[in-house]
């Protein structure tokens, strides 16, 4: 004679309730996330009609590789016109990410270890840009970088430049500065959270055993924050890879165009949606390893929490 406790019976009988709770969210994810990505594939694998509007290939059996092979040809083949954009994107993002790390790490490190009683004040200042919209922060730099703006004024007063520099006329350095300025607050928050979790006692032990400050940092703090650095770099590098607005606002010339600018342009040009879709999918495939790494990290973190 088997008897189930009231609790166990309750648990078994009412499991469907959880399905009811997650149901709307699951439907939303299917309708607005899974289906849209299928549509992108169908458009990229489809054709155009005579009015240059896309004819998606809904049936996977009718998928054609034409757009993908032509993208591939544009990328590496003869007269490859999107190759430079791809290279430029990678170069800009790598430089901007490293620059961000060099600025963000010491700052986050200072606030976690050295701010003392002023920690909350520093934290408030660090998260302040988080509440200012990205566009406003770009607008601020556009104001400053005008030919008659304050940056040129200061440089001229210091006699560093003899005449105003046209910062917004297609300079790679301006675009990289914009990317760093735009995404660094997120990196600092990730680094701060990670560094703050390091057990203070480990550092004390290091000092007690005779390590000086620098070696304590090199042998304890840095190894323990390696994971945080990787996550932080991903948090900033992934959106940078798909950025088109920073570039458009601070330079607006093909000389500095990135892959995001290409996709954005193809989206608004009639007849180029299939090309844009194929390029987006290509970008997605390139970024997939990074994304998987990030997802696994998130999973591992939630596993630790449990």
């Amino acid at each position: 004679m088997s008897k189930t406790t009231p609790k166990a019976r309750n648990t078994r009988e009412q499991r469907w309730v959880w399905g009811l709770f997650s149901g709307p969210g699951i439907v939303t994810l299917i309708v607005l996330f899974v289906v849209p990505f299928y549509v992108v594939i169908a458009i990229a694998a489809g054709t155009l009609d005579i009015f240059e509007s896309p004819v998606p290939a809904w049936n996977p059996l009718h998928w054609r590789a034409g757009n993908f092979t032509s993208i591939f040809g544009d990328l590496v083949g003869r007269g490859a016109f999107i190759g430079p954009e791809f290279v430029r994107t990678v170069v800009y993002v790598v430089i901007a990410s490293l620059l961000s790390l060099v600025i963000a790490y010491p700052t986050a490190y200072f606030v976690t270890r050295w701010a003392g009683r002023r920690k909350v004040m520093f934290l408030l200042l660090l998260i302040a840009p988080f509440w200012v919209s990205y566009m406003m922060r770009m607008l601020a730099w556009i104001d400053l970088l005008q030919t008659n703006g304050y940056v040129n004024k200061v440089l001229g007063d210091l006699h560093l430049t003899s005449q105003p520099v046209n910062w917004l006329g297609g300079k790679a350095s301006t675009v990289i500065l914009g990317l760093v300025y735009g995404y660094i607050p997120y990196l600092i928050l990730v680094l701060y959270a990670g560094l703050d979790r390091i057990d203070q006692r480990l550092l004390e032990a290091g000092r007690d055993l005779g390590l000086n400050r620098w070696r304590t940092f090199m042998r304890i703090t840095l190894p323990l924050s390696r994971q945080t650095i990787m996550t932080g770099m991903l948090v900033t590098a992934l959106p940078m890879m798909g950025d088109y607005f920073t570039n458009q606002l601070l330079s607006a010339t093909p000389r500095t165009a990135m892959i995001g600018n290409l996709i954005d342009g193809q989206l608004s040009t009639p007849g180029l949606l299939p090309q844009g879709s194929a390029l987006s999918l290509l970008l997605l495939v390139v970024l997939l390893p990074l994304m998987i790494y990030y997802v696994l990290q998130t999973y591992a973190a939630s596993g630790r929490a449990a």
Binding site: P6, Q14, V17, W18, G19, L20, F21, S22, P24, G25, I26, T28, L29, L32, P36, V39, V40, P54, I103, P106, T107, F110, V111, R113, V120, L123, L125, A128, W131, V132, S133, Y134, M135, M136, R137, L139, A140, I142, D143, L144, Q146, N148, Y150, Y181, L189, A193, N212, L238, P239, G242, F245, I263, L267, S277, L283, L284, M291, T298, A305, A306
Partner: protein
């Protein structure tokens, strides 16, 4: 100890009756030998970063009060670009106040839809534990890391090719923002559910509560701070959003502030009215953040580990 004494005596060599002996002639150690000295270099570096990150924004706010048309040279204080200019002020220029209203409308609608959807999803997914729930938890996290441009391309394609009854415009924007933001409440609430554990609901069940009652009377009150923090994040996130609304807005009537700034900044001849609408949105964001912070503190009062830092971390999604 010997070093300590030397430093101390070296520090006061002119004390009464101090005679110069070989022991006190040892020089005071230079400051960089003090193992507990303050990290002045790091502090200076941090301040430089903060100045670099905040001063440009301050100047942009300042120029919204400029008397003249310049966005880069100060010509005196006025409220011209907010109130008085007959064409290009926020009050009189339809483009500007429409954009502000559109941003607020999108933020409110998105928050109202996303937060209940995401919270219910999180509760169900976390307690269900079947293959379906694991799969969709994974799908949700993937949607969190897909770059926004690729996400935007997918949404643009689906609204222009498949869901053609929803025209590009406000509702397409809201739906896009809902799916883009749904992972915030979901991830935050799942984290909180994990830390709460199942014991409270089990106790409620033992006392005769049904699943629904346990959720409504036990779980939701316990989750309230997390739900609230995610609402603040979603609202502020929509104000900040650009890519999705840029790709899904149809005309100037459905352009929020971020898209208007983007499309008129370069080559436009608008003057500081752009700075004025950006400043208005900044003030809205700060009000939401401040209210969020104090409400969060109030909701978590008396909880173990509740402090300023924890509250700040939660309303910024750290």
């Amino acid at each position: 100890m010997a070093v300590d004494t030397a430093v101390r005596t070296g520090a006061s060599p002119s004390g009464p009756g101090a005679t110069i002996t070989p022991a006190t002639t040892r020089r005071r150690l230079p400051p960089w030998h003090n193992p507990w000295r303050h990290a002045w270099f790091l502090e200076g570096f941090t301040w430089l970063y903060l100045i670099w990150s905040i001063v440009p924004i301050g100047l942009a706010v300042l120029f919204s009060f400029n008397k003249g048309k310049s966005q880069s040279a100060w010509q005196g204080f006025s409220l011209r670009w907010y109130l008085t200019d007959p064409i290009n002020s926020v009050l009189h220029g339809a483009v500007y106040h429409q954009a502000v209203i559109q941003t607020l409308r999108l933020s409110a609608l998105t928050t109202v839809i996303t937060v209940p959807l995401g919270v219910a999803f999180a509760i169900g997914i976390n307690r269900w534990r079947t293959r379906t729930s694991t799969t969709f938890n994974f799908v949700m996290i993937v949607s969190f890391v897909v770059p926004e441009l690729i996400f935007g391309v997918a949404l643009f394609s689906v609204f222009s090719q498949l869901y053609t009854s929803i025209k590009l415009g406000t509702w397409a924007e809201v739906l896009g923002l809902v799916i883009w933001n749904i992972s915030w409440p979901a991830i935050i609430v799942v984290a909180r559910l994990v830390s709460i554990g199942p014991s409270f609901e089990e106790a409620a069940a033992d006392l005769g509560a049904s699943r629904f009652e346990a959720v409504r009377r036990v779980l939701v009150p316990l989750l309230a701070p997390a739900i609230f923090a995610s609402a603040v994040l979603v609202f502020a996130g929509v104000i900040d959003d650009f890519v999705i609304v840029d790709l899904l807005s149809s005309s100037s009537a459905t352009q929020p502030v971020s898209v208007l700034i983007y499309s008129t900044t370069r080559g436009g001849n608008n003057g500081p009215a752009l700075n004025a609408i950006a400043t208005i949105m900044l003030v809205v964001s700060l009000i939401v953040a401040t209210l969020g912070y104090f409400a969060y503190r109030w909701m978590t009062r008396g909880e173990r580990g509740a402090n300023t830092q924890d509250a700040l971390a939660n309303i910024t999604g750290m």
